[in-house]
């Protein structure tokens, strides 16, 4: 049972345009969501997160939107740059400390930013 889903395995966007990566989840206990970026031969690196008490969080060119009723989140990258080309993973968790705090990941979306 895939609790976190990224239905688009790949996405190609022109440099300077907006990249939108999508993620759906099924577990209502998730209240903390994260995006990670992964380059080949490296470990995933944390990009941005959002708590379920918010519907938007911005950090520079990166914005994450959360729609709790639809159990959907998205990552917007504006403007996209060639260095953004990587695999992006969505992850979900329970935020309360003291819980098992497992991070459940999606299958990833490979973003390619073309010149």
């Amino acid at each position: 049972d895939q609790q976190v889903k990224q239905n688009s395995p790949s996405l190609s966007v022109q440099e300077g345009r907006i990249s939108i990566l999508n993620c759906d989840y099924t577990n209502s206990m998730f209240d903390y969501f994260l995006w990670y970026k992964k380059y080949p031969a490296e470990g995933p690196t944390f990009l941005i997160s959002i708590s379920s008490i918010k519907d938007k969080n911005e950090d520079g060119r990166f914005t994450v939107f959360l729609n709790k009723s639809a159990k959907h989140l998205s990552l917007h990258i504006v403007p996209s740059q060639p260095g953004d080309s990587a695999v992006y993973f969505c992850a979900a968790s329970a935020s309360r400390a003291g819980t098992a705090s497992k991070l459940t990941f999606g299958t990833g979306t490979r973003l390619q930013v073309t010149l």
Binding site: Y32, Y36, A100
Partner: protein, 115 residues
Amino acid sequence: DAGITQSPRHKVTETGTPVTLRCHQTENHRYMYWYRQDPGHGLRLIHYSYGVKDTDKGEVSDGYSVSRSKTEDFLLTLESATSSQTSVYFCAIRGILGQKNTEAFFGQGTRLTVV
């Protein structure tokens, strides 16, 4: 960068042999995780730890065991390696800030090939 080190970085082993991967952290974080990354599956949780000698299974734990005798070290053991365990293995750590869990930080990965 978070103080997390995986060893070895690469290993080739024969089917049926035991293999131990090591994750070492210098952040004193409570939670430690082992994930494997495979094409089409994203990052899947193998085992995790929520304290010294406190561990639990993830979604793909069959054929793997773990131990955490010190806060800083989390060992993953393949009791008898099989070709299906050829993968890239990532260790991650996660702390607590106030009453909330923080984001997870990942190691550089271990590429394991079972021949």
